[in-house]
Amino acid sequence: MMRYARTALLSAALMPAVAFAQTSPESSGKVTDFVLDNGMQVVVVEDHRAPVVQHMLWYRAGSADEPKGSSGVAHFLEHLLFKATDKLEAGELSATVAANGGRDNAFTSYDYTAYFQRIASDRLELMMTMEADRMKNIRLTPENIATERKVVIEERNQRTENNPQALFGEQISAAQYLNHRYGTPVIGWMHEMEELDLEDALSFYETYYSPNNTVLVVSGDVTPDEVRALAEKYYGPIPANPELPERLRTEEPRQNAERRVIFRDARVAQPYISRSYLVPERDSGAQETAAALTILSEILGGGTTSFLTEKLQFDTQVATYSATGYSGVSLDDTTFRIIMVPADGVSLEEGEAALDQALAEFTKKGVDAEQLERIKLQIRASEIYAQDNVDGIANRYGSALTSGLTIEDVQAWPDILDAVTAEDIMQAATLLRREASVTGWLMRPEQGEAQ
């Protein structure tokens, strides 16, 4: 299969984390967790093969926690945390990490904001001193705001405004969510980003940045005892915020109408179809439905042997590419996505009809037992491969624990996936309700309006 450069990017972002490494005390990947007195949750993932450590601080606050009208403030604040604190000059944290041979960065999503450094393991203490400092002590100037706002606007230009596929995806999400913040892009709508100010940033910071709203994940050549001692010393003295708001968000009503998004842009080179269904996420203590959806996604669109690829690319040649995406790690209801690039000479309408016909056939035909067995074998193998990348395991704990899941949920996940039956999968397929879906067509302007 030729790697499909552009649409693959879209689906890569949707790829499910299929499995988590098991805790296996004798080799790398051993996981230990504890909670500090101030409520900070700590996870340690050990790998002693190389003297390297990754230090990550995850906040249970993302773009879906922003106040209305201030879209993008969670991500804007993430940028501003690299400015000055009481003790550090603007840029000094990153410069210090680099001067110690490490690298650092941060990222924001709907449900979390995370900061990390990757560095020689004997520098962990220095990382903690600096990360603990900026949890409470940032000092922002009006110049910081003015300059960094330009930077995030250029970031939006680069990621979204310059990219019709990204603009299209934004419109589909906005149409999918009727009453939930997942319909607003993480980076923010341009007109609201332009108005973000110091007060917006500080208000978000003061509300959400406190130890009882964080998960510290340290992976690599460290022991749990070391991490505990350092975390108690540097993060321990920071008091919990008793007024941390409960994470209650507006919920989606039952969706009763299928929606269509037609996005036209002269920069579109390859028209395609994108379908999104509102579906459940992984819920703590009840991950079975999400597990079935995860395997359904593999069966329908997980590569050369998947059902849609067989139907749309081999049995008939109506598609050049097709794929599905589902990630159950989400605080609230998430989406199951299908994309299909029609072959040359096949219209979007014909492509969509073929896609719907294939989905209907799947409902009739059911799950191929051999395919299910191969998928489960790969999930089990991925637990072995995952131990080669403990930073990946760290990421999975960080994202799960900031998305409403517990350590136990994360550790139970491989077994829950393994227990999924063909019946579970067909039951999950009924959740792909047409009335809860958005079908998008990305296309070129029609003849005559190409200007």
Binding site: R6, A50, A98, Q317
Partner: protein, 436 residues
Amino acid sequence: MIRFATALFVGAAAALPAYAEVDIQTVTSPGGIDAWLVEEHSLPFVAIEIAFTGGTSLDVDGKRGAVNLMTGLLEEGSGNLDARGFARAKEALASSFGFSAGPDQLTISARFLTENFDESVALLRDAMQKPRFDDGDIERVRAQVLSNLAFDAKDPNDIASKTFATMAYGEHPYGTVEAGTPESLAALTRDDLLEAHRNVLVRDRVLVGAVGDITPEQLGALLDAVMGDLPQSGAMMPPKIEPQIKGGTTVVEFDTPQSVALFGQRGIAVDDDDYFAAVLLNQILGGGSFESRLMQEVREKRGLTYGVYSYLSSRNLANAYMGSVSSANDRIGEAIEVIREQWRLAAQDGVTEKELQDAKTYLTGAYPLRFDGNSTIAGILVGMQLIGLDADYIKTRNERVESVTLEDVKRVAGELMEPDALHFVVVGKPEGVVSE
């Protein structure tokens, strides 16, 4: 207190710890194929990287795109398995094989469980030695490549790369798109793919890195199994080329809100005595960290971009010193001016002692952090061989970085950087920027 602590740590940075040993063995198979091996038996799997130098630059005249299309078809059926049969067999073993073609090498990245060793090797052998190139699969993958070409034709980054490459390398393989043109791609036949396979997958151009749960004896047997029947030598390597880059600006009109700029001048070879001085110079100028001069001047002080970088593009057949930036159409002009000014300043004055020290600490400290997983290390082993390094290079690399002096960097900045020859290709609707 924190400033003091920081200073203390920076002061101690000269004594960075001795990192994990990456113990490289050189292995020669009974059939005479060489490979580098790092045994790592703690996890029950093997990662192998196999690279054939030459890659898409070995396309025959008039057959542009053949090597790329052939590479895409290696996992689309071989031996007695068709495309879907091959994929099912791979899944049933939980093995992964990646095939990719670039201008300097065709790369195969394989990963498989120890318990499925023999079956995985057999599958990899068939993919490498007995690809079927069935007609239906050729058409299917050809359509995917054509679709990718259509995407690239409307992508400002790809338009910039293509424009710059055409200007700098003309008819040389580095100057044309390796996937071909829609016309050249449409004309490729099954015989062309077989010829591309014969020309590229050959024993005297192969480099191998293996890491994981495998012994030298097992690796030797694997090498002979997967490559023993390949031809000894292949197509002639195209000549080296000096990029033709003159100072100035080329604007490519494209209706999009943010302009993308790619800039460059001539570069430096990896085997040049001054290469490490150039690496340090570039780290300080635009090497990707927040601390670089370009990031500080263009992003941190002026907010003109989300990212600005420069990099030494030192390849098998040509060397260039390149960079990129993107800014809104009404701000790209200022970003370009700032970059030109930084180029002039570095050429004229070199760098400061503090900048050099910081760059050395970063590069020497960051180096061992790269060796963080079997597949990654296998890739590094091949990368080292590709540029002609010895297996003991890892132990001496940081000393080479440390031995560069401030005078070296100043001299190399003066010799290498040519502010008047720096060319910008700008794709977008840049305001106040014109071709010149």
